[in-house]
C-alpha cells in the first residue's frame, strides 16, 4: 500500500481536554475510499478522535495525517475543502434562523467559489431533496430531511473525507434506513472515504469495511466488519459489546 492510498493515518494519537488524556495511543490507517467505523460506549473517546481530526480538539500529540497533510490544531480552511463532518443531531446542527439555501451557500461564499445557484440545486438533488425545500427553515422539515441538509452542507466543498459522528442515532429506524442508503450511494458515486463513529454494530455491518473497537480511550481491537457475522473478535471487551448488542441473533 503506497502512501497516497491512505486517507487518514493516525499513530500514537493522544488527545487531552484540560490536561486530562481522554484518548491514548490511537493508531490506525484508513485507505482512500474505505469506510471505517469507530465503535464503543459513551466516554470511550470515539467522538474525540473525530474532533481531533477536524481541529476541534487542539490539544493532541502523536502523528496525524489527512490526505498527506499533517493534522490540524485548529479548524483550517484548506482542510475544510478535503474533510467535512456530519453531526449526530440534525436538530442542533443547523442554524434555526437560516434557510437551507443560506446554510448550503455559506461554505461556497467563505471559500470564494462561484456558481452557487447551480451548485445548491445540484447538491439538493444529490441528497434526494426536492427543490421546494431550498428556501425552508429547519423547523419546517422532519428529522430525516434535516439530516439530508446536514449531509448536503458537508458535501458542498466536495471533500474526499467525511467524518460521520453518529449520523443516524437521533432518527427513527425507517428514516435511518433512508439516510444509510443515501450515505452508501454517495460514497459509491463520489469515491468518498468515511470515518464513522457509532455505537450501533448492525449499522457498522451495513455501512463499513473495517472497525476499531474503543474502550476507555484506547483501541482494543481492529477487525473487519465481517467479524460481526460470526462474532470472531479476539478481545474480551469487543466480545462483551458484541453480545450486549444482541450477538449474531
Amino acid at each position: 500500500m503506497s502512501v497516497s492510498d491512505i486517507a487518514i493515518s493516525l499513530s500514537n494519537l493522544d488527545v487531552a481536554y484540560d490536561r486530562v488524556r481522554v484518548v491514548q495511543g490511537v493508531t490506525f490507517d484508513v485507505k482512500r475510499g474505505e469506510s471505517f467505523a469507530l465503535v464503543g460506549e459513551s466516554g470511550s473517546g470515539k467522538s474525540t478522535v473525530l474532533k481531533a481530526l477536524c481541529g476541534l480538539a487542539p490539544d493532541w500529540t502523536g502523528r496525524m495525517e489527512i490526505l498527506g497533510q499533517t493534522g490540524p490544531h485548529r479548524p483550517n480552511r484548506a482542510l475544510a475543502r478535503q474533510c467535512q463532518m456530519v453531526f449526530q443531531d440534525p436538530y442542533g446542527s443547523l442554524h434555526p434562523r437560516k434557510t437551507v439555501d443560506a446554510v448550503l451557500s455559506e461554505p461556497l461564499a467563505i471559500h470564494g467559489i462561484g456558481d452557487q445557484d447551480a451548485k445548491v440545486k445540484q447538491v439538493l438533488a444529490d441528497v434526494g431533496l426536492d427543490a421546494r425545500f431550498r428556501f425552508r427553515y429547519p423547523h419546517q422539515m422532519s428529522g430525516g430531511q434535516r439530516q439530508r441538509v446536514a449531509i448536503a452542507r458537508a458535501l458542498m466543498l466536495e471533500p474526499q473525507v467525511m467524518l460521520l459522528d453518529e449520523p443516524t442515532s437521533a432518527l427513527d429506524v425507517s428514516v435511518q434506513a433512508e439516510i444509510l442508503n443515501l450515505l452508501k450511494r454517495l460514497r459509491a458515486e463520489r469515491g468518498l472515504t468515511y470515518l464513522m463513529v457509532t455505537h450501533n454494530l448492525p449499522v457498522v455491518s451495513f455501512m463499513c469495511d473495517r472497525m476499531a473497537v474503543m474502550n476507555k480511550g484506547r483501541i482494543v481491537e481492529i477487525a473487519p466488519s465481517t467479524a460481526l457475522h460470526d462474532g470472531s473478535f479476539s478481545d474480551t471487551y469487543s466480545q462483551t459489546l458484541y453480545a450486549a448488542s444482541g450477538g449474531a441473533g
Binding site: 429506524v173 434506513a177 455505537h199 450486549a244 449474531a248
Partner: protein, 276 residues
C-alpha cells in the same frame, strides 16, 4: 380479571387546522404480562402511556374508557388519581438526568416516593430504601443513598429511577423508552432488572404488569410477551413477541426490514413509501 382495559382511547390536540387525534381510537387489554408498544416518533405510543396515568393536560383532550382493576380511571377525581399514580401505576421515564431531582439526595427521593403512599416509621422507610437499592443491583446502597443525581452514571441513574418507581409496589409499571439514553451494555442489565421486578422475584411483591414503550423492535421482542405496533395513532398489528417475524401488516414488515442486521448482506435497505 385483566389488570388494565383500554377501550377506544383517543388523545387529541388542537392545531390551526382543527383538532388532530395523536392517538386515534386504540383498544387493548393487559393482564399480568409484559406488553410492548412499538412505533416511530409521532405514532402516539408515549401519549398512550401518559393518557393511562391521566398526565395529558389541556388543551390536550382524552376520550375513551380506561379501566384499571375494575375502576374507571376517567371517573376518578384528581385527588384519587394522585393516590393511584406511583402506588398502583408507575412510570419510568426515558432520561434519568432530567427526571431525578438534582437538589435532593437519592435516598431522600426514594424515601419520598414511599412516604407519599404509605406511612411507616422512619426506621422502616430507611430499611425499605436500602432493600430497594439492593434490589436494583446497587452494590453499596448506603453510599449511593447519600449521592446526588449528577454523581450517578446513566445506568445508575436509571436504576435509581426504577427503585423510586417500584418501591410503593405498583401493580402496573409503564416504562417509556427506559433504556434509549443508555449504552448497549447497560441496556441489557436495566431491562433484565425491570424484567425481574415485574416477575416479582426481587422484592416479593407478587409481580406486576408491564407496558414497555420503545421504538426498538428487536429489543421489545426480546423482553415482552406481546407487542402492539402503532402507526399514526392507531394499532396496526398485535402479535405475540415470538411471532414478530411472522408479522403480516405491511407497516410492521417495513419496520422490521429497515433495521440493519448484525449479519448484513443487503446492499440497500428497503425504505417505506411516505406521503410527505
Amino acid at each position: 380479571m385483566s389488570l388494565l382495559t383500554v377501550d377506544n382511547l383517543s388523545v387529541s390536540f388542537p392545531t390551526p387546522k382543527g383538532r388532530v387525534n395523536v392517538v386515534d381510537g386504540i383498544s387493548f387489554e393487559l393482564g399480568q404480562e409484559r406488553l410492548g408498544i412499538v412505533g416511530e416518533s409521532g405514532s402516539g405510543k408515549s401519549m398512550t402511556g401518559r393518557a393511562i396515568l391521566r398526565l395529558i393536560r389541556p388543551p390536550g383532550r382524552v376520550e375513551g374508557r380506561m379501566t384499571f382493576e375494575g375502576q374507571d380511571l376517567g371517573a376518578l377525581s384528581e385527588r384519587q388519581m394522585r393516590q393511584m399514580r406511583g402506588a398502583k401505576i408507575s412510570m419510568i421515564m426515558q432520561d434519568p438526568r432530567f427526571s431525578l431531582n438534582p437538589v435532593m439526595s437519592v435516598g431522600a427521593q426514594i424515601a419520598e416516593a414511599l412516604r407519599t403512599h404509605e406511612s411507616l416509621p422512619r426506621h422502616d422507610i430507611k430499611a425499605r430504601v436500602r432493600q430497594m437499592l439492593e434490589a436494583v443491583s446497587i452494590n453499596d446502597p448506603d453510599r449511593v443513598a447519600r449521592m446526588y443525581a449528577h454523581e450517578l452514571s446513566g445506568g445508575m441513574g436509571q436504576r435509581v429511577m426504577i427503585a423510586m418507581m417500584v418501591i410503593p409496589r405498583p401493580r402496573l409499571l409503564i416504562a417509556d423508552e427506559p433504556t434509549s439514553a443508555l449504552d448497549v451494555s447497560v441496556q441489557g442489565d436495566v431491562l433484565a432488572l425491570i424484567n425481574d421486578l415485574v416477575r416479582g422475584d426481587a422484592i416479593n411483591s407478587g409481580g406486576m404488569g408491564l407496558i414497555l414503550i420503545s421504538h426498538d423492535l428487536p429489543l421489545v421482542a426480546r423482553y415482552c410477551d406481546r407487542i402492539l405496533v402503532m402507526n399514526a395513532g392507531r394499532v396496526v398489528e398485535t402479535c405475540a413477541a415470538k411471532d414478530l417475524h411472522k408479522a403480516t401488516h405491511p407497516y410492521t414488515r417495513g419496520l422490521l426490514a429497515a433495521v440493519p442486521k448484525m449479519h448484513e448482506t443487503r446492499d440497500v435497505l428497503p425504505v417505506m413509501e411516505r406521503t410527505t
